[in-house]
Symmetry: C2
Subunit: 256 residues, 2 copies
């Protein structure tokens, strides 16, 4: 592996605390590999032999049951995935598929677990990383159970607005059907949800969402740090920005 890549990996929260020797050890048998778009890296139910770290591109995590499938998360660099399965030496609960050509670091699960047991600092980092992922999922469930489709879409837009940095325009970085699945609705209903948001100052042209009037949108969406993660990627969350101040002017819902 190239030195520059190693440097990039070393700077991740997950690896920053560990000793040099052990870092070399984990990355010893690691592959940095490039996959084409639309490739399924891992099927749910499969045994997991590697920890995956998305360095570039996009990966979808999805679940299947009874011929239906649902997108559980869309990952952007830099995100780990199937970490929990690696830690527990268990089978994958989600399939992982590239949405774009992606560069992915694969670390042998065996070595990963061994080093965890040797290096307390590293084990703590792993615990932290999984904890961040866990909290991402808690938010995800709350989002799913407490909001309706239009509300989920409105909050998705606000989240992307923050992450993409442009207050006026948000770009959907993949097919809308994928977004629909992520938001727990059909592609048809996503279209209708966008139509409803026209009343709240949203205009859609292709993949581009234009936010004309942020205030009514926020009033509808009622974003909340206990449901929305307006910071790094959801599932491989770097855990940062957890305790930042919330929306400039909106009081938090309910207590505390």
């Amino acid at each position: 592996m190239k030195a520059a890549d190693l440097e990039r990996i070393r700077s991740l929260q997950l690896f920053s605390g560990m000793s040099e020797d052990q870092f070399n050890d984990v990355t010893q048998g690691a592959y940095l590999q490039t996959f084409p778009a639309g490739l399924t890296l891992l099927y749910e139910g499969d045994p997991v032999d590697f920890l995956y770290i998305l360095m570039d591109g996009a990966v979808e995590l999805q679940g299947t049951w009874n011929d239906k499938e649902s997108t559980l998360a869309i990952l952007r660099p830099i995100s780990t995935f199937i970490l929990a399965a690696v830690v527990l030496e268990a089978n994958a609960l989600m399939s992982a598929r590239t949405l774009e050509k992606s560069q992915i670091l694969m670390i042998p699960a065996e070595a990963f677990r061994r080093i965890m047991a040797e290096d307390a600092a590293f084990a703590v980092s792993v615990a932290r990383e999984v904890s961040g992922c866990y909290r991402g999922l808690v938010r995800s469930i709350k989002n799913q159970k407490l909001r309706n489709g239009t509300e989920r879409l409105a909050n998705y837009i606000l989240t992307q607005q923050v992450r993409q940095g442009n207050p006026d325009v948000v770009v959907i970085p993949h097919e809308k059907r994928t977004l629909a699945s992520l938001l727990g609705m059909t592609a048809e209903n996503l279209s209708r949800a966008f139509a409803q948001l026209a009343d709240y100052g949203i205009e859609v042209h292709g993949a581009e969402i234009r936010i004309l009037r942020p205030v009514p949108l926020r009033r509808l969406a009622k974003p909340n740090p206990l449901l929305d993660n307006h910071a790094p990627p959801g599932m491989g969350g770097s855990g940062k920005a957890e305790k930042e101040m919330w929306p400039p002017s909106l009081g938090m819902a309910g207590r505390a």
Copy 2:
């Protein structure tokens, strides 16, 4: 704290691997406290000062948004809760409320984190524990997004059937409204879902669910280890029974 209680705690997966000294250290400032039913121990958004371990009774984890609330999990002994928040020194994402009179062990978060950093074996145990919780949530989301209300109920019954050990009768151990919220539906629709299951050999009398014909029920429910955790409690999962054989006679859905 009594020696018998310490013994019980020591035998938990989470604490079994650590050194004696450090075990004494963590449990030093720990309280074993009894709370009445219906008491909220912690509100979502609150800072978390303790790791909680439910030793006896029942605790509901729930989330709120916009005056709606939803039950995310119902815990039974022995389960840890809000572990991820403790690890990350973050605020709680869920409220925790006793459903019954409960005995709960409270371990100071500060000390917990300190010991984690000192004892690699313990840190690994924590990572494992959180990973188990994470996988519980993944199943929960898949259950929520891929199944309809009646299917979720049918699978709930099958899960309880396994956990309670009686193949003919399952007892709902709390109010039905709580179950409805856990399953992501209203109390009214839970009643209707039970009515629908009459066609599949289910009879309900109060809290008692009688399973007359298991076969049609299973055919409807299509239980699957990637969505259902037919073993220990969901959120404080001891991680056991993860790779057990699946339903005696039902092939697993789809691939692998």
